[in-house]
């Protein structure tokens, strides 16, 4: 009896703690779904639907996503961007209409089609990803699918290839795209093209001559360090050192101390995970470093501000793979406003903008191919480029990557260099990578 009372008391204490914590949370971080296989379909139209007399056929667009757990911030932002774009395509007007002057839905052989978004959470668990992809392919009949990162892509490759699924992806890593995967495309700014665009600017305009590189020991970190290091040396920026740290490291002082002792013009975090960037910069400032810091990946503004210790610490911080607060392009402003209207200002970040690219680009390719056959759509997309193709990062854009991966399935877009000025992330430069860089 006494123990039961204690258990009740314990549950009570925990409940009060949970309620207190929930009430005092300063952000509107969404509750993450607890079930892995709850399909979600778009509910809020981006713009009022234009009445059509025709009946549109629904085509499922599946996503094997990460809607809960530590990777949920990325998975959710991808999913929410997809919802916005699906609504925009289905309803016409909005960004879709502005960019392409398009009617609601899309047509193949005169028939009107609309997307139906089906998303399942694989929780960054590869075994779960196999179940999710099986369900999408065999139960939902999905032929077009977005797969969140390599932990889901690698173990499901056979299923995807055997069933000739068109796959869109937005993660780094080896073996994501290649001639053996003719229907897989990556819609992500790649470090190689980013470095090819930005490093000459860093040398010529910003005047950097020496750099110390610090990066995490992951597939992404190695790619970033290698690609930026290669381009920096090519333009004449001396790489004084390349230090690699273990993932989950929180104390960067040993690496930063070594870098600072080298007295570089620039310390480059290639790459530091977004949630850790604030701490990285804070620790550099604690060690007395007053020079410039460049992050090769996008930061999440709210986390950066909350973890940097003092806003002074991040003043002048450089970053890329994101857009500035001012959203220079009209389509970026439209997307940001739509995103904020649905999920609140605290959820918006300049690095989210590229999540909007896959679905509308795939739709353009479907119309170009006048087919729903994934092979024909892939062939059409491979050859699409501006002005027929538009990216939320800006134009021109095209698909490259053949020199590295043997196939032009990597989206190449202009690269933005962001700088924190007076406590705001603004666009310092937007540069198109050289056509032959990738």
């Amino acid at each position: 009896m006494k123990r039961n009372l204690l258990i009740c008391a314990l549950v009570g204490i925990l409940s009060v703690g949970i309620v207190f914590a929930s009430c005092t949370q300063t952000s509107s971080t969404p509750a993450t779904p607890t079930t892995s296989t709850t399909p979600t379909t778009p509910t809020t139209p981006a713009t009022p639907a234009t009445p059509t007399t025709e009946e549109a056929i629904e085509i499922p667009f599946g996503t094997c996503s990460c809607l809960s757990g530590p990777y949920a911030p990325w998975g959710l932002s991808e999913h929410w961007a997809q919802e916005i774009m699906v609504d925009d395509i289905n309803n016409g007007g909005g960004c879709w209409g502005d960019i392409y002057g398009h009617e609601p839905g899309f047509r193949v052989d005169g028939q009107l089609y609309k997307w139906k978004l089906i998303a399942y959470d694989y929780k960054m668990d590869s075994a779960e990803a196999v179940k999710v992809v099986n369900r999408l392919v065999y139960e939902d009949g999905v032929k077009f699918m977005h797969v969140f990162c390599w932990p889901a892509l690698y173990p499901t490759r056979d299923i995807l290839e055997q069933n000739k699924i068109f796959v869109s992806e937005q993660g780094m890593g080896e073996d994501i795209i290649g001639p053996e995967y003719p229907r897989t495309f990556r819609f992500l700014q790649e470090p190689n093209t980013n470095a090819a665009a930005l490093v000459p600017y860093m040398y010529d305009t910003l005047g950097y001559r020496t750099v110390s590189i610090i990066g995490d020991d992951t597939a992404d970190g190695v790619v970033y360090s290698d690609e930026y290091g290669k381009w920096m040396e090519q333009v004449g920026i001396e790489v004084l050192s390349k230090q690699i740290y273990e993932p989950n490291t929180q104390d960067y002082t040993p690496f930063l101390s070594k870098a600072i002792a080298e007295n570089p013009d620039l310390i480059a975090g290639l790459k530091v995970d977004a949630p850790l960037m604030g701490m990285f910069v804070k620790q550099a400032r604690e060690l007395g470093y007053e020079g410039d810091i460049f992050m090769g990946a996008p930061f999440t503004w709210k986390e950066l501000v909350e973890t940097c210790g003092d806003m002074e610490n991040i003043e002048g911080l450089l970053s890329t793979m994101m857009i500035g607060e001012e959203c220079p392009l009209e389509r970026q402003q439209w997307f940001r406003d739509e995103y904020i209207a649905r999920h609140g200002e605290s959820e918006w970040d300049g690095g989210i903008v590229d999540r909007a690219d896959p679905i509308h680009m795939i739709t353009i390719a479907i119309e170009k191919a006048n087919s729903l056959d994934p092979d024909e759509v892939a062939a059409a997309l491979e050859n699409l480029e501006s002005p027929d193709l538009k990216s939320f990062y800006g134009d021109p854009c095209w698909f490259g990557g053949e020199s590295v991966w043997g196939i032009n399935h990597d989206l190449v877009t202009p690269a933005s260099l962001i700088k924190v000025v007076d406590g705001h992330p603004i666009t310092l430069a937007t540069i198109t990578p050289p056509r032959d860089a990738y």
Partner: protein, 284 residues
């Protein structure tokens, strides 16, 4: 900047925080004979409690920190009565219990606190330059608080009647009971104090680093390495090993490379066990 003194200071600062994490774990192991896999999650809870008390209300940091310690003490007592007491003396059941609590709290953390990192900012400000060594008031203050708490714990253990009872239970629970020690109460207090130490570690780590749901995972791994290196259940051993591990981590990252620092830490632990199976200061 000269690297060696900087690496030494950074290592000692990390070591001071590791002491708090490891002491709570070694206390439970020594007295309750329970391997607490949830210790890192208690560190995480402490960090979030401090964060919300400090950032979510108008409390100043010392009050928020003390309130966290009181909350953790209460939670420890309640957990002991409700969950730990029934499995006392059963190591396997204790193992499963703490593993379950760990998984539960980790997932609860994601649901309740969200996935984004938080920071306990603006508590201490200012930079300190000691010759060629750079550090911050924040790091010095958190290290000093950690060392003060360690000193209080050592005083309790070695200079009070309660501490004698702790040590007696750690050596032989039955014999202590025969001598009139209330072993049940000692175990409850032990868990409560362990949670205070975990909460304090979380509250201080949150100031220096980030606060996020998985922050305890690395802390648990590190704490296990420390208590094995120092000697299972040995409080002085845990303190010495925490400082050694902090220094090794810092020096290896500075001079050899951060990608192998974790490996070298485990190597140090393995070598210690190989040459001194009871750890640096372990007795039994």
């Amino acid at each position: 900047m000269e690297l060696f003194p900087q690496a030494l200071v950074s290592g000692l600062e990390s070591g001071c925080l590791y002491i708090l994490v490891a002491l709570g774990l070694t206390l439970i192991l020594g007295i309750m004979k329970t391997v607490n896999f949830a210790h890192g999650e208690f560190v995480m809870l402490g960090a979030y409690f401090t964060f919300y008390f400090y950032s979510g209300t108008d409390m100043n940091y010392p009050v928020a920190f003390l309130l966290t310690l009181v909350t953790m003490f209460g939670l420890g007592f309640a957990l002991d009565k409700a969950l730990f007491r029934p499995v006392r003396g059963n190591m396997l059941a204790g193992f499963i219990l703490t593993l379950g609590i760990s998984i539960f709290l980790l997932n609860l953390g994601f649901i309740v606190f969200g996935t984004k990192s938080r920071g306990i900012s603006g508590v201490f400000s200012g930079l300190v330059e000691l010759g060629s060594v750079h550090t911050s008031v924040e790091r010095i203050a958190t290290s000093a608080i950690a060392l003060s708490l360690m000193a209080v714990l050592l005083l309790i253990i070695y200079r009070t009647k309660l501490g004698r009872a702790f040590r007696a239970v750690a050596i032989d629970s039955e014999a202590a009971q025969l001598q009139g020690v209330n072993t049940s109460m000692i175990s409850s207090l032990c868990l409560a104090i362990s949670l205070i130490l975990a909460g304090a570690a979380g509250g201080l780590l949150g100031v220096v680093f980030n606060v996020y749901p998985t922050m305890g995972t690395r802390a648990t791994g590190l704490a296990f390495v420390i208590i094995v290196t120092g000697g299972l259940g040995s409080v002085p051993g845990a303190i010495l090993a925490a400082l050694v591990i902090g220094l090794v981590e810092s020096l290896v990252s500075t001079y050899i490379g951060g990608d192998i620092s974790w490996g070298v830490i485990f190597l140090v632990a393995l070598l210690t066990i190989a040459f001194k199976p009871k750890g640096l200061l372990g007795r039994n």
